[in-house]
């Protein structure tokens, strides 16, 4: 199945001289949840804004469902819904009116039943006649999502969707995103919360200094770049590492009371051999712990090792 978004050799240099994106190539699969990670100023929002038509690219092409975002902007933009990072709302409008406005703006005729469904799914139905200025920050965030969904987009961009929202709302949003994916909507989200990407994303792209440095399925990325750590709490502290354990490159911790073994996430076969060798050497342990690196560890290692 062809990608729903195709980005080729995309570059953006602002008038100030700042290069925000360099030769970015990216294919977004239809119906997936794609998380775009990266530190502040990495170029995530610029990338999203170019796809949505808010920022003009300096070089390269972007196609949404085969439609060029510059030449065939009507067709491409009508497929996209955008939830921006900041809470930009028409303060004096009611929830219902602003959602109706968004649907019309994106070229769709009135459909009160659809808007009702969207507002109910976001628990905004009871607030439909309230002015946006009277709503809480979390509710305003929901209004922005309702506006983005009002015209039934096939692609939804969520730029830092849960920044500054409470845990309950964050969970609600995750549930909504999964529901939308179930309905066939492709979702691209940027986030600072690694746990958000870890929780929801099918694939992950990491942007650093305007370059897309990694694009990988989440599970594969964690397996490929993740590390595991085994800690053995010994019955008797060791003064020195016994001979015969060189193959495992063990590290003594806590004055010889613990032994630490770091290994690749997909290399678990060496553990039984290690435990067998320790038994042979008479090194006993009273407890053991294992730890797998999180996506956050991988993200930090990826972005911090780049020049």
């Amino acid at each position: 199945m062809p990608s729903i978004i195709s980005i080729a050799k995309l570059g953006k240099t602002y008038a100030s001289g700042l290069t925000a994106l360099r030769d970015v190539d990216l294919e977004i699969e239809r119906g997936e949840i794609f998380a775009l990670l990266g530190p502040n100023g990495a170029g995530k929002t610029t990338l999203i804004n170019i796809v949505c038509g808010i920022v003009t690219p300096t070089s390269g092409t972007v196609k949404v469902d085969g439609h060029d975002v510059v030449r065939d902007y009507r067709a491409s933009r009508s497929l996209i819904g955008l939830v921006p990072q900041e809470l930009h709302t028409d303060m004096f409008e009611t929830v219902w009116n602003t959602a109706t406005f968004s649907r019309g703006l994106f070229g769709r005729g009135p459909d009160p039943a659809h808007l009702e469904k969207v507002l109910k799914s976001l628990t905004l139905w009871e607030k439909r006649n309230d002015k946006i200025m009277t709503l809480s920050g979390g509710m305003k965030r929901r209004v922005l999502i309702a506006k983005a969904l009002a015209h039934e987009p096939q692609v939804l961009f969520l730029d830092e969707p849960t920044a500054g929202v409470d845990v309950e709302l964050r969970r609600d949003m995750w549930a909504l995103v999964r529901q939308l994916r179930g309905e066939g909507v492709t979702i691209i989200l940027t986030t600072h919360y690694i746990e958000e990407a870890e929780e929801m994303a099918d694939r992950i792209g990491v942007v650093s200094k305007g370059m897309l440095i990694v694009v990988e399925e989440k599970a594969r990325l964690m397996k490929k770049l993740g590390k595991k750590q085994l800690t053995l709490h010994l019955t008797q502290p060791l003064a020195a590492l016994p001979a015969g354990l060189e193959d495992w490159r063990l590290v003594m911790k806590n004055d010889g009371a613990d032994l630490e073994y770091n290994f690749d996430a997909d290399d678990e076969r060496s553990i039984p051999a290690l435990l067998k060798r320790l038994d042979e050497l008479g090194v006993g342990f009273r407890d053991l712990q294992t730890r797998q690196s999180s996506l956050e560890d991988i993200f930090v290692s990826l972005t911090s090792t780049r020049p």
Binding site: Y14, A15, C52, G53, I54, V55, T56, Y73, R74, A75, S76, R77, S78, I80, L82, P84, E86, H88, T89, D90, M91, F92, E93, N97, T100, F101, S102, R103, G104, L105, F106, G107, R108, G109, K147
Partner: protein
């Protein structure tokens, strides 16, 4: 054409007009009434007739134009500046709507407000002085054309402005003085010859003169010249708006 998009913006802007009815309609009507009290009732009787028209009736077209200019600029500039200020412009820029359609919707809404305002002021003026409209068709046409032109100009100002101060800079410091010096309250024939010639470089003279011709069949300059000047101004504003959207000036980075 994104018909639904144009209608959505148009309705949104008209809803804003209703929300701010006091500021948009009542204030200009009150101000105009005060002009009639001062210039029409207090000073008017002491003035000679101009082109066979009483002074009170003579100033009606100028007063309508004064309000239409000011409100067109304010409505249209604020209409597009507000989304820039609040950040909601992102939605407009990411929507499948062409620059021409955006201009049509915003300027259409602002011009509708201005035409309503002009007609309300005309009705208000009728309460103070008997107003005769000799060419009602041309009067409506000229009112719509002038309102649309100034709304376009206001739209351009709204995009250009980086703050509220810049937003009111051109209407307050350029358009209002030009209107007062453009024959709103007098005929330029009443001026000394040198000032009269100088006044002909003021584009507002042509707008007010043309509109006055629609009422009384007489004007400072020919109606053809007025119409041509208004059309030139309209084309210039349209060209400027088109350039802004083509280049993304102060809209896109």
């Amino acid at each position: 054409m994104n018909r639904h998009g144009i209608l959505a913006i148009y309705r949104f802007e008209m809803a804003r007009f209703k929300r701010t009815l006091w500021q948009s309609l009542v204030t200009p009507v009150l101000t105009t009434s005060l002009y009639f009290v001062v210039f029409g009732a207090a000073i008017g009787p002491r003035m000679n007739q101009i082109d066979g028209v009483t002074y009170g009736a003579f100033i009606v077209p100028g007063l309508i134009m004064l309000s239409v200019f000011t409100e067109s600029l304010n409505n249209a500039s604020f209409g597009i500046y507000l989304p820039k200020f609040t950040g909601t412009i992102y939605e407009l820029l990411s929507a499948p709507i062409s620059p021409l359609e955006i201009v049509l919707a915003y300027v259409g809404a602002a011009a509708t407000k201005s035409v309503i305002l002009g007609l309300v002021i005309l009705a208000t003026a009728n309460l103070f002085v008997p107003v005769h409209v000799e060419h009602p068709f041309w009067m409506m046409g000229f009112l719509v054309l002038t309102a649309t032109t100034f709304c376009l100009f206001g739209f351009v100002i709204g995009i250009w402005a980086k703050g509220f101060e810049q937003l009111s800079f051109i209407p307050m410091l350029i358009v209002t003085p030009l209107t007062f010096l453009g024959g709103a309250f007098y005929s330029i024939d009443m001026l000394p010859p040198a000032w009269r010639t100088f006044s002909l470089f003021n584009p507002v003279v042509y707008l007010i003169s043309g509109f006055r011709w629609c009422f009384y069949g007489a004007a400072d300059v020919s109606f053809g010249a007025s119409l041509a000047m208004t059309l030139v101004f309209f084309a210039a504003c349209l060209g400027l708006a088109a350039w802004i959207f083509r280049t993304g000036y102060r809209l896109k980075s």
